[in-house]
Amino acid sequence: MRVEIPNGDDSPHLRINLKVNGQSVDTSIEPRELLLDFLRDRLGFTGAKRSCDVQVCGTCTVLLDGRPVSACCTLAYEARDRELLTIEGLAKGDELHPLQQSFVEQTALQCGFCTPGMILTAKSLLEEISHPTRQQIQRYLKGNLCRCTGYWNILVAVEQAARRLQPEGQSESPA
């Protein structure tokens, strides 16, 4: 994918390469460009949302080399030569990711504004700890706020997804 430089701007540009949802992107950015604007306005990935804009709410969460970051307060420059995963990159065609499936089944969302961030943060957690305790899930998701669900169903959905991704008793990588 090639994305062209917006016109009429005198600030310096940098050429960068990165991968977004498995696809390589070769583009120019301005150093001041925030990752969230880059993803939403330039690449059209609008799953990450802007809400608090100060790293508190987590609606803008994306995974940068597998780690959750706040796209609202991260420069697009940081994604150079790295891999980004947004919520758009999670399903395989029509087949939902186990986390997405569990969120649907457990009604772990109402308005859905927090959901991309919740799911991506949970994905990062489950990659590190395949069967987290309730407390570990709470700690990991502490910075992702939800104004609708009351959190309970989210915790249940993450636990269900953990079981689906790796049924208990199957070989687990040592902690």
């Binding site: 005198d10 600030s11 310096p12 940098l14 301005e30 150093p31 001041r32 925030l34 604007d37 804009d53 100060v54 790293q55 508190v56 987590g58 969460t61 940068l64 780690r67 959750p68 970051v69 706040s70 307060c73 991260t74 420069l75 420059y77 940081e78 943060t121 990062s124 990991y140 998701l141 502490k142 910075g143």
Partner: protein, 292 residues
Amino acid sequence: MLRPFEIHEPGTVEEASVLLAQFGFDAAIYAGGTELLLIMKEGLAHFPHLVNIKTIPGLDEIALSTEGDELQIGPLATHWELERSPTVKKHAPLFAEVESQVANTRVRAMGTIGGNLCFAEPHSDPATLLLAWGATLELSSADAQRQLPAADFTLGMFETARQPDEILTRIRLPLLSENTAGAYRKFSTHERPMATVAALLEVKDGMIEHARLAVGSVGPVPIRASEAEGLLRGQGAEEAAFSTAGELAASASDPIDDLHGSAEYKRHLVRVLTTQALEQAAKRAVGAVNEG
């Protein structure tokens, strides 16, 4: 939209320092950016030149000194790494424990220990702990290097002893002796802590030989509660006057009224958290001696 700036990518500490000297107040060191970008977004500061020190190799290393007596932490180690580092967990478990409680998952993934200390935001967990611990900070410029006790580094709210062309290049954490144990307590209602207390106790033959106590987040800078420390010296570890020490720490702390809470409430918290931290540190110290 942020105002335009240029990003510089030095390959060495010397190069970074030269850039900082050259651009003066127009430049800022850029590490994880979790604080810097916030103030730039809010329009509280503008820097036409950001010096990205992440392009300098080695500044994120975490290792034991060759003498094996201290943990040396590169300023670019993120909270995420410090929380998980097997070296930190093995040699300074209390530090790993505190790091795991900093901010939220995303801030921990990007934010560095160096950025936390150099920004000198008053609500800092590591600053409180490192003060009690007696850590040393290494500051480097193009032609000089100096070592500064953590106690002399933070001067005030958002103010440190760092010169504009200096880079924090290492945090040196002496390993605790076998009969020393510590504990950490914090309380928050918002994202950042409202009160933080770190306690370290050295216990010999059941007696407290040495107590180190730091209180942070309630006022502009973390402070040592030396009167409380003095009171505990020589007392039995299991029956020491921890609650009196808590009261002394509370009156030594100089809390301010702010969004987090009233000064009165914070003083109350300091008293309670200090007592709890001391009790836990004593348990751990006595436990360590019994095990050893």
